[in-house]
């Protein structure tokens, strides 16, 4: 019995190590100065200092890539959240077959490989003569984020009392007021999770961005790192950057989870 338990624990341990080793590896090596990966030349904060005081090579390029990434993610996920919520309400109110068809159509972009989404958007933009750059990247990100918002808002709609919107109208709210004061607050948890999912999807997207950014030299973090790695080795300062990003996302996830379990306890 005891042996079996030990084996089970070892197995879980092994899986966790395999999953997290690469991240831990980067995090550990962000605290040394060595230029080449895998060399430990003693503990140091220098890479962090370089990252923040701008003394690394092409520091301005990296910083603008970070800025672009965050701004694109923010715009795309805000717009996707609005579009997705409205779309979800629309789909939810369809009847029978139409509803199934719309749900199915909504699911396809999510299982579609990124590379196909990227190439087809590229072709579409070319066909429509839209010059590629910031706008097209944002549009592309909105495109692939919206279905995730729909997917997150839909279950909240199904849980909702179907009369709640009518109840608001009945009490004197205009359709717009009913949407703002009743529907949106009731759907908020779904909208927030849809927003966060969109934000992270946009943050780490490479394929779609790569095909829709055009030739004006627009870089997001992922395309920047890709280019940087191809130019002859990863710039060492990227290691602390990735560690920070990982920690940031970890904190966000923890906050969301704690909030959710608190909400559950309340009920």
């Amino acid at each position: 019995m005891k042996g079996k338990k030990l084996l089970a624990k070892l197995y879980i341990g092994l899986v966790l190590v395999i999953l997290y080793a690469p991240i831990i590896f980067i995090a550990v090596f962000s605290f040394t100065e060595a230029k080449s990966l895998g060399n430990w030349t003693g503990f140091s904060f220098n890479l962090y200092k370089n990252l923040f005081n701008g003394s690394m090579q092409n520091s301005s390029g990296l910083m603008s890539a970070v800025e672009n990434t965050l701004l694109i993610a923010l715009i795309a996920s805000v717009v996707a959240t609005l579009l997705g919520t409205v779309a979800a309400i629309g789909i939810y109110n369809l009847k029978g077959r139409k509803k199934d068809v719309m749900n199915f159509l909504n699911n396809i972009p999510m299982i579609n490989p990124d590379i196909i989404t990227g190439v087809s958007l590229f072709l579409l933009f070319v066909f429509l003569h839209i010059s590629q750059g910031y706008t097209t990247v944002v549009l592309a990100h909105i495109t692939f984020c919206t279905p995730y918002v729909v997917l997150n808002v839909m279950p909240k709609l199904s849980q909702l009392n179907p009369n709640i919107y009518e109840a608001a109208l009945d009490l004197g709210a205009t359709p717009m007021q009913a949407l703002r004061k009743v529907l949106v607050p009731a759907l908020r948890p779904g909208m927030i999770s849809g927003f966060i999912l969109s934000f992270t999807m946009s943050l780490d997207d490479f394929a779609v961005t790569f095909f829709t950014r055009g030739t004006i030299g627009l870089d997001t973090l992922s395309t920047y790192i890709y280019a940087d790695a191809r130019k002859g080795g990863l710039t060492p300062e990227l290691k602390p950057l990735m560690t920070i990003l990982f920690l940031l996302i970890l904190v966000v996830l923890l906050v969301i989870n704690i909030r959710q379990s608190k909400n559950l306890n309340k009920k």
Binding site: E166, A168, L169, D170, L171, A173, K181, A186, K267
Partner: protein, 462 residues
């Protein structure tokens, strides 16, 4: 000037090809407690939703205080609704739920406060104002839903099966409270329910609706004692519905016996339906009073009374309710007071369709082709097709069936069942049968050629 707060005129509504409301005419007096009663799917909720403004009528109009409210959106109508599943706003607490309507109307803060506290007191929920609505029980949520509606002082309060989600005991308590609230507030209540007992308990006026049509409007006692047709008699309370024949004024025959009654004006030897409530059949030991005898078949205690089924000497089964039990198997003497016999005009005496001769010995109706004798009719001629209720065969398979349908409504008539079958073509066929079918059963329909009777179509202008 009549004091009608709501006047509904020639109202019709269809969803797709299905007509859910058909030429509804109804007025509601100011301050009245009126109940729309009917089985699920009869159109009663649709009617309520049109009054509230969530649905637009196809035809006809709804007048509120004499003015047509067709173009007025729900948020501008001085009506409020209590929804079936409460529909409270989950993100607001009890106080804010109730204050929702007042805040939208920009009512001053202290006025809101005063009115919210007043209605909370009225619904006996004074200490709950800070509570999260989702932590309340069903009954408490319903009280808040009622408070949220009446705080706006609507001209009419619409209630859509507000007690349906509550358990029996809670429902009874809330019925009494609702009645009390109606008395205190003086607001007109329009109440929708499928629960006949609830309707009888609460209402000043009951409107019985079935298949989109008003069957009867009246006070609870009117509706109970004098149902106008078999549907109302069957739907409201327990009843024995029987085939009968009006021999002459004040004399009716049913279950192969003759009885005195109080109805007049039907004519002589006219087929009718007769309703006798189970509590109106009396036992007697006096042979002079006895009108017929029967044998007790079963006897079940129902809490207040005993419910017995007896077989009459003429082979009919009747339900009787009495405070005293009679042993199963015993022979009993029975009589019915003339007052307690309700005679109703027959709504139909046979199935009648417009058909078309499609060939030698073939006629088409109910969306199918039947064999019958077409002598004297030309190919392609339109004909009236008549079939007696008892001549329709129902099969539990479609092998030999000519068309199929589903059992829609079952009426027990003492010695046979009178079924309403909805055929595949969406039409109805009525069937008298001794076989037991359940509601929604799938049936095959067969009619023997000799039982199909064709007649020339009588043109309207002849």
């Amino acid at each position: 000037m009549k004091d009608y707060i709501i006047d509904i005129q020639h109202l019709s509504k269809s969803f797709g090809s299905k007509k859910v409301l058909d030429d509804i005419n109804l007025y509601v007096r100011r301050g009245e407690f009126i109940t729309l009663l009917g089985p699920s799917g009869c159109g009663k909720t649709t009617l309520l939703r049109m009054i509230a403004g969530f649905l637009q009528p196809d035809e006809g109009s709804i007048l509120l205080d004499g003015k047509d409210i067709a173009g007025i959106p729900p948020h501008e109508r001085p009506l409020n609704t209590v929804f079936q599943r409460y529909a409270l706003f989950p993100h607001l607490d009890v106080y804010d739920n109730i204050a929702f309507g007042l805040k939208l109307k920009k009512t001053p803060e202290d006025e809101i406060d005063k009115r919210v506290r007043k209605v909370l007191k009225l619904v006996a929920m004074s200490d709950y104002e800070d509570r999260d609505v989702e932590t309340l029980s069903g009954g408490q949520q319903q009280r808040i839903a009622i408070a949220r509606a009446i705080v706006n002082q609507p001209k009419v309060l619409l209630l859509d099966e507000p007690l349906a989600a509550l358990d029996l005991k809670m429902r009874k308590d809330m019925q009494i409270e609702l009645k009390e609230m109606h008395r205190k507030l003086g607001i007109t209540f329009i109440y929708v329910t499928h629960d006949q007992e609830e309707a009888l308990t609460l209402s000043d006026t009951i409107v019985v609706i079935n298949e989109g049509k008003i069957q009867q409007i009246g006070t609870p006692t009117d509706i109970y004692n004098e149902p106008v047709n078999a549907f109302v008699a069957d739907f409201i309370g327990e009843s024995n519905i029987l085939k009968g024949k009006m021999l002459r004024d004040r004399r009716v025959a049913f279950i192969k016996h003759e009885f005195d009654c109080v109805d007049e004006g039907f004519g002589e030897n006219v087929k009718v339906d007769v309703v006798v409530r189970p509590e109106d059949i009396y036992f007697t030991t006096d042979p002079a009073k006895c009108q017929f005898t029967a044998k007790v078949n079963s006897c079940v205690f129902k809490g207040v009374h005993y419910e017995m089924f007896v077989d009459t000497d003429t082979g009919y089964e009747l339900m009787i309710q009495d405070y005293d039990p009679y042993p199963v198997g015993s022979e009993v003497m029975l009589y019915i007071d003339p007052d307690d016999i309700q005679v109703m005009k027959k709504e139909r005496t046979e199935n009648k369709y417009l058909g078309k001769v499609t060939g030698e010995g073939k006629v088409e109706f109910l969306g199918a082709e039947f064999e019958c004798n077409t002598e004297g009719f030309e190919n392609g001629e339109e004909v009236t097709v008549k079939i007696h209720f008892e001549k329709v065969d129902l099969l539990d398979h479609e092998d030999e069936a000519i068309t199929t349908g589903h059992v829609e409504f079952i009426l027990y008539m003492g010695d046979h069942y009178h079924l309403t079958i909805r055929t595949e073509s969406g039409e109805k066929i009525w069937v008298d049968t001794n076989d037991i079918w359940d509601k929604n059963d799938f049936v095959g329909i067969k009619i023997l050629p000799k039982d199909i009777c064709l007649e020339k179509v009588v043109a309207a202008n002849e």
